[in-house]
Homo-oligomer: 196 residues x 2
């Protein structure tokens, strides 16, 4: 990772907090400077524009999502790779709650300056899930169908994870992971459930 200055880091952190709370359109560079405790000139010295600032936040967020997913995928095989990905994503969301909220809000926006970059980075992240799915689905499943499944799994973990952090933060991460994985385990469709 490239080294970034303490000032730049403070600006990124302030932008993230404000963006997660008020949205990107509802956040101004003045507010970012104030929250970061730096002069406005310093914000513009580090980022040419608000678009540049939030674009960098979001693209680096999706890149670290992809890295987490790839590591999880390579750490196991078969359905265990899906389990590792769900657990890895949940940890990432819990450790970066503001970023997860911002990503949930931004992921389907189509009017942003960084749209092209985001579409290709999101595709990269989904491709990691898709690669883990490939050996688990019928051989004639098309890549676009596998990507839809990957999008569904990603959505389940993102929404389930945010639901957890906002509405039942006392639940241990392992229980959340188990609850989400239960829905992918086939036990829902297994007829009468066992008393676990």
């Amino acid at each position: 990772m490239p080294r970034i200055s303490a000032t730049k880091q403070a600006i990124l952190a302030a932008a993230l907090e404000l963006g997660a709370l008020h949205g990107i359109s509802g956040t101004t560079m003045d507010e970012v400077a104030e929250r970061a405790g730096v002069a406005k000139g310093s914000v513009y010295y580090n980022f040419a524009s608000k678009d540049g600032l939030f674009g960098e936040l979001l693209t680096s967020g999706v890149s670290s999502l992809s890295r987490t997913l790839r590591e999880a995928r390579l750490s196991a095989t078969g359905f265990a790779s899906i389990e590792a990905m769900v657990a890895g994503m949940l940890t990432l969301i819990a450790d970066n709650r503001a970023l997860a909220k911002l990503m949930a809000a931004e992921i389907f926006r189509t009017d942003r300056a960084w749209q092209e970059t985001m579409v290709s980075l999101r595709r990269e992240a989904l491709s990691e899930i898709e690669a883990a799915l490939a050996p688990l689905v019928p051989r004639d499943t098309s890549e676009s169908t596998r990507l839809l499944m990957a999008g569904g799994i990603f959505g389940a973990v993102l929404m389930g994870g945010l639901e957890w952090l906002l509405f039942s933060p006392g639940t241990p991460a392992a229980e959340v992971s188990a609850a989400l994985l239960f829905t992918f385990s086939g036990k829902l469709d297994a007829g009468s459930p066992s008393a676990a």
Copy 2:
């Protein structure tokens, strides 16, 4: 449903289009009036504020989601009720793409005037999924765990559905539904897949 005037309908439709494109903070009442082809006074005659306008859009959207989910749940039993809910939600998303985008962006915002209403309405919608899950999960599963599972299923369909509409709109709805349900069917965890 209460009858609403053609003007009010035009304002709501314009607000929805603009909000889905530029976000709520990025949309002004002036722009809503212009897009709806009505005078600005007419917008304020119908809605006291932008918050009131978007609050009405979102709460009525979540209410119709709950209705759809309840009807689907009552139309079948066992895992088939989950299948009916996924299909019903996908149809709703496809028929109301702008609303689905807006809801995805707003669902975890915690600084909105309508926040309280949205939290309780979202809970109502998730409770429908939770009620369908109850007979399918181990008897000692807590309500909060079932709600997390419900949030995951909701997230999978919302994100999978938007992924579909934005990136592979040519895929028939039934295939999308089948792809998402496949991940909940347990076939992922079934070892070597059959050639479907």
